[in-house]
């Protein structure tokens, strides 16, 4: 921009001298290098300063991020190791079981060298079954699923009643104990006011009710004879454990001089707040909250519910039907244009030269990057989404058809010419059948990409569709529906690929056998 200049400014911030670079508009009537005077402590950045500042900032930010990523990865290592341990354990268990079964004696199982012989490595069905069951078991364990016996559950959140005592010291140094009765309620249970006996002394007993996974601040002094503000009373011990914390002791900047303590009791974590009140967080246990991960049976009953009654007035079949409709129409259009385009590129110098730059440029552009543009051009209706899927399929199919044509062995074409076939006959009887395996591979890839793209496109803008269902659900924090959507997307995507493979085996039996 002509009216903008990069300034390097050095200024004090929080007691430190900080140098930074910022783009600043040049005021009207001033020209950089003539009458423009930067603010105090600033000067116009040279090209090198602009460059090095950008890369310095980028570098330091990326370094921070790298450290974050590495640290999170390291924290995942114990879990991964545990999972691998489970895998290996089940392997030994299964081998032990297998040694009691009649061994199979087919050719491959008689091979002694299997490590390194890819053809001897077959998918172990038992492993697949155990692995899938284990996923559900882990899922159930972490959600306290009713499908599992309760000894497999991780400890759930604490519910019920608990109590602890606190010791108050008033400004004169007198001490008194009182008890706090905490009632931890399961989600959805109405709280009832519990009346507790006030007890004697100037500190009175308190009661509080908390819902699981939340916390409650207990103003212990609301019923006591002394209070925090007026009498300078403060808590000096929890359950008899003494500590030194005075919320009124502050330094010149208003910061606390002491650190607020916290205690882990058998049913909750109790912390003294900066204001001197007590914060009670009941033990959340090891299970996941339904908001983060609902139990399998919850997802299943949601599935039944949505299948029967729909979600937000749209039936599941309609969501799924719209997504599949978009994928199929987009794919068919892409194939209808892409395959002839690929053939043209494979058969003619001119067409190859013409379309090579276009195809090679468009191919690496992910269709998702085009969503904003497509919405601007076509709106959020069907045309835009189908156009997007058309583009996704087009380049894949064109490239598949092109490589199918170039994969034709020249001897086949020569033989056909020598047998008197015309160009049209060679296209019809040699080139097209010969390229079918490649086209099928391309079609499988294209269908996969289209399915992924349609979900993403619906996430952005749609009235119905499986992706739209997920977006809506996320707005209402219906994690079970999000999970259900993810599972449906996975199953349908897998199903599409299986169907394509079946069609391939049926229609191109000579694939890989030439």
């Amino acid at each position: 921009m002509a009216g903008t200049v990069n300034l390097v400014c050095t200024r004090e911030r929080l007691g430190e001298m900080v140098t930074d670079l910022r783009a600043t508009p040049v005021p009207d009537g001033q020209v950089v290098g003539e009458n423009f005077t930067p603010a105090d402590g600033c000067h116009v950045a040279s090209g090198w300063e602009t460059f090095s500042y950008q890369f310095g900032t980028l570098g330091s930010e990326l370094w921070t991020e790298t450290v974050n990523v590495v640290l999170s990865s390291i924290s995942a290592i114990p879990y991964i190791a545990g999972y691998i341990l489970l895998i290996v354990m089940f392997m030994f268990v299964w081998r032990a079981i297998k040694s009691f079964l009649t061994p199979t004696r087919d050719y491959t199982s008689l091979k002694t060298v299997t490590f390194g012989d890819e053809s001897a490595v077959r998918s172990e069905t038992a492993a697949s079954i155990i692995s899938i069951i284990l996923i559900f078991v882990i899922w159930g364990t972490f959600t306290g699923s009713s499908l599992l016996p309760s000894f497999l559950h991780l400890p759930g959140p604490f519910t019920g009643e608990g109590s602890f005592t606190y010791t108050v010291e008033d400004a004169d140094g007198n001490r008194d104990d009182a008890e706090v009765f905490v009632n931890v309620l399961a989600a959805g249970t109405a709280s009832e006011e519990t009346q507790v006996d006030a007890g004697d002394g100037f500190a009175k007993n308190d009661s509080a009710s908390v819902t699981i996974y939340s916390s409650e601040i207990v103003s212990w002094d609301r019923n006591d004879d002394v209070n925090r503000r007026d009498d300078g009373a403060r808590i000096v011990a929890i359950n008899g454990q003494e500590f030194q914390f005075d919320p009124n002791a502050r330094d010149d900047n208003g910061n606390l001089t002491d650190t607020a303590p916290s205690f882990t009791l058998d049913f909750a974590r109790v912390a003294i707040t900066d204001r001197g009140t007590i914060n009670v967080s009941p033990d959340p246990g090891w299970q996941m909250q339904p908001l983060y991960l609902p139990a399998p049976e919850v997802v299943w009953s949601r599935f039944i519910e949505i299948a029967k009654y729909g979600y937000q007035n749209v039936y599941l079949t309609v969501h799924l039907g719209f997504s599949l409709f978009r994928v199929i129409v987009g794919f068919l259009l892409g194939a209808a244009i892409g395959i002839p385009l690929g053939y043209a590129m494979g058969l003619s110098n001119w067409f190859r030269g013409w379309f090579d730059p276009i195809v090679e440029f468009m191919r690496p552009v992910p269709p998702l990057a085009l969503i904003p543009l497509v919405i601007i051009w076509f709106g959020i209706g069907e045309v835009g989404k189908i156009f997007l899927l058309f583009l996704a399929a087009l380049w894949i199919m064109a490239i598949a058809a092109r490589s199918g044509v170039s994969g034709v062995r020249i001897t086949k074409v020569h033989a056909a010419y020598s047998l008197g076939a015309s160009r049209w006959q060679i296209l019809r009887h040699v080139i097209i059948p010969n390229s079918l395996p490649e086209i099928f591979t391309g079609a499988r890839v294209a269908m996969g990409v289209c399915w992924g793209t349609v979900v993403a496109a619906e996430l952005v803008a749609a009235e119905e569709g499986i992706g739209k269902m997920i977006t809506t659900a996320s707005k209402f924090q219906n994690t079970d529906i999000i999970l259900l959507g993810v599972i449906i997307i996975g199953i349908v995507g897998f199903g599409i690929d299986m169907l394509m493979r079946m069609a391939e085996r049926r229609l191109v039996p000579w694939k890989g056998k030439a």
Binding site: T411, K412, H414, S422, P509, W510
Partner: protein
């Protein structure tokens, strides 16, 4: 019908680096109707280039090929091809492969099926005609290729190492089949091979070519092909002349190979 005339063919093409390759230089040949000529030579002597020019897949830079008194300008069904491997159509059955030529010519099924069945019988594949070609062994596939070529009734058959990919035993059997088909059909055949035995056993005329530039080095007229029509090929190999001719050609090709190696080393 007259034979095949290769008249002063030269092939010289440019390389991207500006130099050029003289693949063939002044090759002149006259092949009579019904002759079987085998072509031998070290690698790079232009055998396949010559065959591709005769087939019409390549345009020579000098000279011309004439067949039936017209100049070859492109592939045509009067010149059938048999390739080493992979020239069959995997998506068709054996019978559809063999009947490809007549079908493409738009002939009626009734008119060609008799001939196709007969040819499948001759090559011994009557029981396999409904199979897909990828279900056949290499030797069977080459028999399909021979039958497919014959079903189109070409005047000249050009064979580019048709038996090169087969194992030694199958190869001997197939050599007998080629001789039998040649005698029965009376076709003109040009056969390119790497095997001296094959060239001697099958070639009435044996052409030895030399490389750089590709040219005719020496030509033999041999009686072994005639003998092989009635006799066992192993008996033909026992003939005293067979050994001496074989030795002579072998030495010739060895010398050429050595000369190429020497020259390559000198160039480096």
């Amino acid at each position: 019908m007259s034979g095949l005339a290769i008249d002063n063919i030269s092939m010289r093409f440019d390389l991207p680096n500006g130099s050029h390759v003289q693949a063939l230089k002044d090759v002149t040949l006259d092949i009579k109707q019904g002759e079987l000529m085998s072509v031998l030579g070290p690698s790079g002597c232009g055998k396949t280039t010559l065959l591709n020019i005769v087939a019409g897949f390549l345009a020579p830079t000098g000279g011309e090929t004439r067949i039936n008194d017209h100049v070859v300008e492109g592939p045509n069904k009067e010149r059938g091809m048999v390739f080493q491997q992979g020239a069959l159509f995997e998506w068709m059955s054996v019978r559809d492969n063999v009947s490809f030529g007549p079908r493409m010519a738009g002939k009626k099924k009734a008119d060609y099926m008799g001939n196709v069945d007969h040819l499948l019988d001759v090559v011994g594949l009557q029981d396999f005609k409904e199979k897909m070609v990828y279900e056949l062994s290499g030797g069977m596939q080459q028999r399909v290729a021979l039958a497919r070529c014959l079903a189109n009734d070409p005047d000249v058959i050009l064979m580019d190492e048709p038996l090169g990919a087969l194992d030694a035993l199958t190869r001997e059997k197939m050599q007998g089949l080629v001789l039998k088909l040649w005698k029965e059909t009376g076709k003109t055949i040009i056969l390119i091979t790497h095997s001296i035995d094959e060239a001697l056993l099958l070639g009435e005329r044996v052409l030895v070519m030399a490389p750089r530039p590709g040219r005719i080095h020496k030509e033999y007229r041999l009686p072994f092909a005639e003998m092989g029509v009635d006799q066992d090929l192993r008996e033909v190999k026992e003939h005293p002349d067979y050994g001496t001719t074989r030795e002579e050609i072998l030495t010739m090709i060895w010398d050429m190979e050595e000369e190429i190696m020497g020259r390559t080393e000198a160039e480096e």
